[in-house]
């Protein structure tokens, strides 16, 4: 019912601070200055719903207060859609408002995704018109350059760490990807809004995700190392390790999980042996990700 909409200017009358903050966002610029459909034309009410009853109740309340009499009517808040932890709406109902416009792009697979099925609301991780985080004097994790800063925390990573605290611990290890330096974020590998791929990866497999930055390891190679080809995580711990090169376990034990033979593969080897120090097995078998040399079947060429 079009008559139930009052327009965004009415919101500005009472919710000036929130309105001003929202007006600074790209979303508001589209809604207020370049709406592309009827929904966007509704401005604040596109998300909060038609506000006619809300405004009438609020004005009745104001009139009663001005007259010095107790307001007996319903609270205005019950006539407007509110978001966040205190909202009477379920997470699904809250998200439904956002998905009116955003159920595409990265959110195409939101429904049924890990975070949706765990009851997360969009506003758990995003804010539209709250105060941005306080002025940053220093940051533990640098935020990469991005046009999207609508997070309730200082960085996107810190939002994820709320529910994934072990990832923060792993990223503080000596061998790590450049996440704390602000050169990557969780979203460099994961689509937190839902993905058809395992572990919410942005690509079809772990390896396809790794190849985004390491295309040289993609091959095809003449001599392939099957566990490498199937899953980089057979040897590497992507979120951080206390071993060099993000390895799960130090070589030669890492390799000896699978390899035994006469000679050095089946031998425990002393710590000071050339099969152990430096990079262990890859002191010689350095082409372990694949070799294209006709003499490279042992990954030494």
């Amino acid at each position: 019912d079009v008559s139930q909409y009052v327009g965004s200017k009415a919101c500005d009358e009472c919710h000036h601070q929130g309105y001003r903050k929202f007006a600074l966002t790209k979303m508001a610029k589209v809604f207020f200055d370049a709406p592309r459909n009827e929904l966007e034309q509704q401005g604040c009410e596109a998300c909060h719903g038609p506000a006619q009853e809300h405004v009438e109740a609020a004005r009745a309340h104001d009139r009663a207060r001005a007259s010095g009499i107790a307001y007996q009517g319903p609270p205005s808040g019950q006539f407007i859609l509110r978001f966040g932890k205190d909202s009477p709406l379920s997470a699904r109902d809250q998200n439904d408002r956002c998905l009116q416009c955003h159920e595409k792009g990265q959110r195409l697979f939101w429904q049924g995704s890990a975070h949706e099925s765990r009851g997360l609301a969009c506003v758990t991780c995003h804010q539209v018109h709250q105060d941005p985080p306080a002025a940053v004097a220093a940051a533990r994790f640098q935020q990469p350059l991005t046009g999207n800063t609508l997070f309730p925390k200082r960085t996107q990573m810190e939002v994820c760490f709320d529910c994934h605290p072990m990832r923060k611990a792993q990223l503080l290890r000596s061998s790590h990807m450049p996440v704390r330096e602000g050169l990557m974020t969780c979203a460099s590998c994961h689509n937190v809004h839902g993905s058809p791929n395992p572990k919410l990866l942005i690509a079809a497999t772990v390896n396809d995700t790794c190849y985004k930055c390491h295309p040289e390891r993609r091959g095809p190679f003449l001599w392939e190392h099957p566990p490498v080809m199937e899953n980089c995580l057979n040897c590497h711990e992507a979120h951080g390790s206390s071993r060099a090169q993000l390895l799960r376990i130090n070589p030669p034990r890492l390799c000896q999980e699978c390899h035994t033979s006469t000679g050095h593969p089946g031998t425990p080897q002393l710590a000071t042996s050339r099969y152990v120090f430096n990079r262990g097995c890859t002191n010689c078998h350095s082409q372990i990700h694949g070799s294209n040399s006709p003499s490279g079947s042992r990954f030494q060429r």
Binding site: P35, E103, Q111, G119, P196, G219, G266, C284, S286, P294
Partner: protein
């Protein structure tokens, strides 16, 4: 601030450093230098010339190796074009030294006089090393690119993206000549260029939508081969090469087409489908078997190049429904087909380490696999924020040319979300998975032409072996008041390989954390976190020879890691509307043990296992302390004083003993040469003063 939002800012500072900042660990992915620096700058021009056009620009660490630039121009709701420039340094080691010089692309040489001297007297290596060149072994990535997104309507959008990345520098690289007689670690020259193009279209409404796209990635390596001198032999001979040559990563390309669609079948049911196909190609010319001219009877190559062709097709179908207000159902099917059409090439012989013919036949195998999975989950909403979820997944994995042709895994899970109080929530998960290979044919994948002894009976590769996985975890979050919040997590994972008698036998991981934050005043907050992780794995092996293969030579290795992470800090914002303070400290403390035990009786004849000794304990400690005070000088100008202390300690028996000559540790390396690359400890103090101007 809200009344007059700034359109930009710039933070310029002066920095000084004290301590040992040369460590590659300190510089691993960043560039912190003394002197003048631009920490960041931004410009945000909205409604350019009273129109709906906008222009934004951001930069960080400008004109440092890790600099970042990002610019965007667009029209609200209509289009947006972005240009990006990023630099990423990656330091591997700062303690390396080498006798090698790159004289042409991928060719590393050592002066003839040095080689002659070392050939006649390998023991003179320490004297020769006096002429070694110190080398900071490091890479730098430089990425430039742009993208545009057009949205002619709220429903339609089109995007186009291009990027070019250059990766240059050196990487430590192990090579060997003449079996392990001459282990020669060299700085591998890296000169990669990768171009990527993507184009896509999307349509989306409340009823559903689709996405379709094309992507291409072209990888080029300027150094297709690495040639290096043998410092201990200047003349080729059969069994003794004077040079080595190997194939570096070949040029390759990948293209993909992808489609994804979603349709709301009803108000409560949504069907989502995605199909993507990747084509990976590689056809670089093969190198000859060897560069050693003295090796005779080298066979002809079976082909001039690989003509490597792989196709990966991923299909996903997901159906999700909320048939009742309290019930959510999800079912998914996934098929990932990794098709390898690369020819299988037969090599009647090959040259091992440029030394001599191996007299073994080899055959390359086009490894491929197909993974199909089907799963379902049901969630029953008990109350707002409280639910129970039951899930099941079945995975069928078929492989070609691997020891296990087909394996099946069943996974069941239960999750309970509780939110009995507004301030208290808890999630508990339990998962049990059973993976069963249908048949295990040992040694199928490694040596199809034979040439190596069969594996010990009962040895199974852990990524294919029977596995029972049990996982459990809980996450608790308490918002005790508006000011105090607390969370804790505990997760346990256990893998047992019950049918493996050798190889990896078991793995156990414990991960726990606690996190507390307290808002002392409206503008003062405190936080503290602690995490403890413990990882254990057991593996068993056998030292044996063709004539001495008994279980009396079995040995076992117990690998233990314990990692503690601690961080704490305080933040004061806008004290008297002038001062903001941040102080925090973090410590990551890791210890690793590898204990090795013999399982046989040393007094029995034929006992071989004399090197099963515990390895020295390894460990890393990384401290970081930061204190920063920001003082607002005026509405637009603020100053910042920041002090950082970082300390990194490591105990690493594998790296910290490294020097170019390692014969003191292993006499078998008297004619070997290493880079001597370590990742040394450091302690650095960084003091910076900066001005932040908003306009």
């Amino acid at each position: 601030q809200d009344a007059n939002p700034s359109i930009g800012d710039v933070e310029i500072g002066l920095r000084t450093l004290a301590g040992d900042r040369s460590s590659s660990q300190f510089n691993e992915y960043r560039d912190i230098t003394p002197g003048l620096y631009i920490q960041r700058a931004s410009l945000d021009l909205e409604h350019l010339f009273q129109t709906n056009y906008f222009l934004t620009f951001q930069t960080r660490q400008s004109w440092q190796k890790d600099q970042r630039f990002l610019g965007t121009f667009g029209n609200y709701g209509k289009f947006s074009c972005t240009a990006r420039w990023e630099g990423t340094p990656h330091d591997f080691t700062n303690t390396a030294a080498t006798l090698y010089t790159m004289t042409s692309s991928g060719v590393l040489t050592i002066p003839g006089a040095t080689r002659t001297a070392l050939q006649s007297n390998p023991a003179s290596l320490p004297q020769a090393l006096a002429g070694a060149t110190p080398l900071n072994v490091a890479l730098t990535r430089k990425l430039g690119g742009g993208s545009c997104q057009f949205t002619p309507s709220a429903a339609w959008s089109f995007n186009l993206q291009y990027s070019h990345e250059a990766e240059n520098g050196y990487r430590p690289f192990g090579t060997t000549l003449n079996n392990t007689t001459n282990m020669l670690e060299v700085p591998e020259p890296v000169d990669y260029k990768t171009q990527e193009v993507q184009a896509g279209v999307e349509y989306g409404t409340r009823k559903g939508g689709f996405q379709a796209g094309y992507a291409a990635s072209l990888f080029g390596n300027e150094n297709q081969a690495l040639v290096w001198d043998n410092p201990f032999n200047a003349t080729d001979a059969a069994g003794s090469a004077s040079r080595g040559r190997l194939a570096l990563y070949p040029n390759n390309n990948a293209q993909s087409l992808n489609f994804a669609g979603a349709l709301n079948l009803s108000r409560t049911t949504r069907l989502m489908v995605s199909v993507s196909s990747d084509w990976m190609r590689q056809n670089a010319s093969f190198l000859p078997f060897t560069i050693n001219t003295a090796v005779a009877n080298v066979p002809a190559l079976p082909a001039n190049s690989l003509n490597g062709r792989k196709t990966a097709v991923a299909t996903n179908i997901t159906l999700t429904s909320h048939p009742l207000a309290r019930l959510s159902l999800t079912a998914h099917y996934r098929d990932y087909d990794y098709i390898n059409d690369t020819p299988s090439l037969f090599f009647s012989n090959y040259v091992m380490t440029d030394s001599a013919l191996a007299n073994l036949a080899r055959q390359s195998l086009p490894y491929a696999f197909n993974q199909q999975s089907i799963g379902t989950s049901a969630t029953w909403l008990l109350h707002k924020g409280e639910s129970v979820t039951v899930g099941y997944e079945f995975v069928d994995l078929s492989r070609q040319h691997r020891d296990v042709a087909d394996s099946r895994e069943h996974t069941g899970s239960v999750t309970l979300d509780l939110n009995p109080k507004k301030w208290f929530s808890m999630r508990t998960t339990y998962e049990h998975a059973q993976r069963d290979p249908q048949t295990y044919v040992a040694n199928l994948e490694l040596y199809p032409q034979g040439g190596n002894p069969a594996l010990i009976p009962g040895w199974e590769l852990y990524d294919e072996a029977e596995r029972t996985r049990t996982k459990g975890g809980t996450l608790m979050q308490v918002d005790a008041s508006d000011r105090l919040s607390f969370s804790a997590s505990y997760d346990l994972t256990q893998d047992r390989y019950n049918e493996s008698l050798y190889g990896l036998l078991g793995y156990r991981a414990l991960e726990s954390s606690a996190d507390v934050s307290y808002q002392l005043y409206n503008n003062v907050s405190l936080f503290g976190t602690y995490a403890y992780e413990r990882y254990k794995s057991d593996q068993r092996s056998r030292q044996y020879s063709a004539s001495n293969d008994t279980s009396n030579n079995d040995w076992e290795s117990y690998i233990r890691d314990a990692i503690q992470t601690l961080s704490a800090g305080a933040s004061v914002s806008r004290l008297r509307n002038k001062v903001s303070v941040d102080v925090f400290y973090s410590l990551s403390f890791a210890k690793g043990q590898i204990d090795n035990r013999i399982l046989g009786n040393p007094s029995l004849a034929g006992f071989l296992v004399t090197t099963a000794q515990d390895y020295p304990e390894t460990g890393t400690r990384y401290h970081q302390l930061t204190g920063a005070v920001r003082y607002r000088l005026s509405n637009n100008l603020s100053s910042k004083l920041q002090y950082q202390w970082e300390r990194y300690d490591r105990t690493d028996f594998q790296l910290q003993i490294m020097s170019p000559s390692m014969s003191l540790y292993d006499s078998g390396t008297k004619t070997s040469l290493f880079l001597g690359g370590d990742v040394p400890p450091y302690q650095v103090h960084i003091l910076s003063v900066s001005l932040d101007y908003r306009f």
